[in-house]
Amino acid sequence: MRVGIPRALLFHHYGDCWLSFLEALGVEAVLSGPTSSDIVNAGVIHADNETCLPVKVFSGHLLELKDNADVILVPRVISQGYGTCSCPKFLGLPDMARALAPDLPPVLSPAMDLGDRRFLWLRDWYKVGRALGCGRLATAVAVRGLVESLKAHDVETGCESENDGALSVGVAGHFYNVNDPHVSLRMLERLQGMGARALTIEQSSEREARRQAASLPRKVYWGFERRLAGAVLHWSRTASVSGIIFLTSFACGPGSFIGALLEDELSREGSVPFMTITLDEHSAEAGLVTRLEAFTDMLRRVPARKPASAALERGAVL
């Protein structure tokens, strides 16, 4: 039995946990290849034309697995933390996957509700293990391992690096956009090539992000967007970056709101420059490079700001 996992969307968050779960079950896992133009094109053709770019990319990965997997694992991530919910696209992802093409292998969709403190969703994973033909004990051990790996995953990974005077740019965007070189058009590499250090959300401290997100007047209820908003506010309020690039994808629902929210909040606080880049399947390198060059050039001209003065300005604006 080969279990296929599309290398897209929340695989970039929880992929290692899922893989170790399958490994503990002793089932062969098949990953789709890294994103390529063919995968994106297949996704664009088959997926609904109004979904966002990451879902189209996901569809492409799913179609690639059609012939080399017996079942496909598409967990339904209901929430990524207590008191939050996921984007509706994640809630309906397995059902979208089933409706994608008529001849797809069966889709296994265990729920993953990380905000559920009673862990009722683990039952689904147990059923998956049993459906894949594993014994009761082996499955229970694998489920236990999944919980452990998710806990280890949640442990603070963020490391704040010292501002050593080099130009640093915060890149705020979903992991599945930022960490996929094909989708983000190798943006991180390009920034480094321009002599700027690129900081991503992963590198920001989760605790700080939580604290800053709580300062917003209305709670952001999407789990990942709350983390993102908190990290951006943290960067801006401590002036640990010179500028922030908000990377979103065409037709991203939460992105459209959080982008507008952050833009407004940062401009009220008179904070660091903020640029939004919207990706879609037609994004071309030249357009991106020009904008990145212009942005880094502008940041170099603006003298570096110190946290204290930033706070002072914020006080003056408010």
Binding site: E50, C85, C87, P88, R218, Y221, F250, G259, D264
Partner: protein
């Protein structure tokens, strides 16, 4: 304090009733026009959904007309609606307007927030808790009547013998209902409204189609954005049944008195295709389509605003419902640039398709082969 609210279908009648009950100075928001949409689209974020843009436009016009307090619904996701109020406050403040925005969170989000939102408008000196609950219950009963009137209009418009008689009955029924305030009056108004509709002469010889109308509540309810589709279809002899209503949305317990199918029944009908709540009206759209298909409807029309997250999921799943249950489903995406002609052309095509399907079904029943 001059209060204004967004506009959507029956909402102005309902808010007027509440304003009368709690003695609130209410300014009716201006009806939607190209200007409203233009203002909204220019201020709101590009990829925000149409309802946000429309409401921003309405709010700007209401503020210019002298309102100083805005009332907006809240929520806690996953649909973007729960974050509308915060974004609207920021957009309007940036434009330099001075106002007070009160967010009414649903009790499911937080009972405390819901209560304090309500108290923000109603003030403790105007109504004690008991009075508040009693009046809200009566207001809810009235919302149900208003939505029933709308349901009857959609059901009868396609079968009326004399054009305009249903519209006249609806107009009169709404007036009767608007004047009712106590429980007894509301019950009497409902009876009267029912009588008014029973008196409408029907043309029983005319063959009519049955269409289901599903989708996102704002574009389905607001005639400006769906190009008054119920009326348009009614004129062409189509009996329309809608699955979203304001009363069903606010009615406690998920009983959906107007649609007639409870949340659980809807979820069960949707379960072969969509097995989880996706926020907004996504699950309802899929479940209602399955219900309409099993009841033998001729077609289902699905309205969604551009980039609406729950409805995009419903749309990609509805394709499968349509194929497996054998019902034509037309998904229409509405944004600020959608034109009437485009929608009507596609609607006419759907009507033709439904008619030919029915003719073929009749022939098959009569035992003739399809080819002859």
């Amino acid at each position: 304090m001059k209060v204004s609210t967004p506009r959507m279908g029956n909402l102005p009648f309902i808010v007027e009733d509440l304003a009368h009950r709690f003695d609130i100075d209410y300014i009716e928001p201006p009806v939607f026009s190209e200007e409203t949409v233009r203002i909204g689209a220019s201020l709101a974020p590009e990829f925000a959904c149409l309802p946000l843009k429309a409401v921003v436009g309405t709010f700007v016009q209401a503020l210019e007309a002298g309102a100083d307090t805005l009332l907006m619904g809240g929520g806690s996701g996953p649909c973007r609606f729960g974050y509308y109020a915060e974004l609207q406050r920021r957009i309007l403040e940036k434009e330099g307007y001075r106002f007070n925005l009160i967010v009414l969170d649903p009790p499911s989000t937080s009972l405390k927030a819901a209560y304090s939102g309500l108290r923000g408008i109603v003030g403790p000196d105007v109504a004690r808790l008991g009075t508040l609950v009693r009046e809200l219950k009566r207001a809810l009963a009235k919302v149900v009547v208003f939505d029933e009137i709308e349901k009857w209009v959609l059901a009868l418009k396609g079968r009326e013998a004399e054009e305009g008689s249903v519209a006249r009955a609806a107009e009169e029924a709404r007036q009767v209902t608007s004047a009712a305030f106590t429980g007894k009056e509301i019950r009497r108004a409902r009876r009267e409204a029912q009588l008014l509709f029973e008196e409408v002469p029907l043309d029983d010889n005319r063959q009519h189609m049955r269409f289901g109308l599903v989708g996102e509540i704002f574009v389905v309810l607001e005639p400006y954005f769906n190009f008054d589709i119920g009326n348009w279809l009614g004129k062409r002899g189509v009996v329309v049944e809608r699955c979203v209503h304001i009363a069903d949305t606010v009615y406690p317990g998920g009983r959906n008195p107007i649609f007639g199918y409870s949340d659980r029944q809807v979820a069960r009908a949707a379960s072969p295709y969509l097995t989880h709540e996706v926020g907004g009206d996504g699950l309802l759209s899929v479940g209602a389509t399955a219900i309409f298909a099993s009841r033998g409807f001729d077609a289902v029309i699905h309205f969604l605003p551009f980039t609406c997250m729950p409805e995009v999921i419903a749309k990609s799943v509805l394709f499968r419902v349509s194929e497996e249950m054998g019902i034509p489903v037309l998904s229409l995406t509405i944004d600020e640039q959608t034109g009437r002609a485009g929608i009507e052309t596609r609607m006419e095509a759907l009507l033709d398709l439904a008619r030919s399907r029915r003719r073929r079904a009749c022939r098959e029943v009569a035992g003739l082969s399809v080819a002859t």
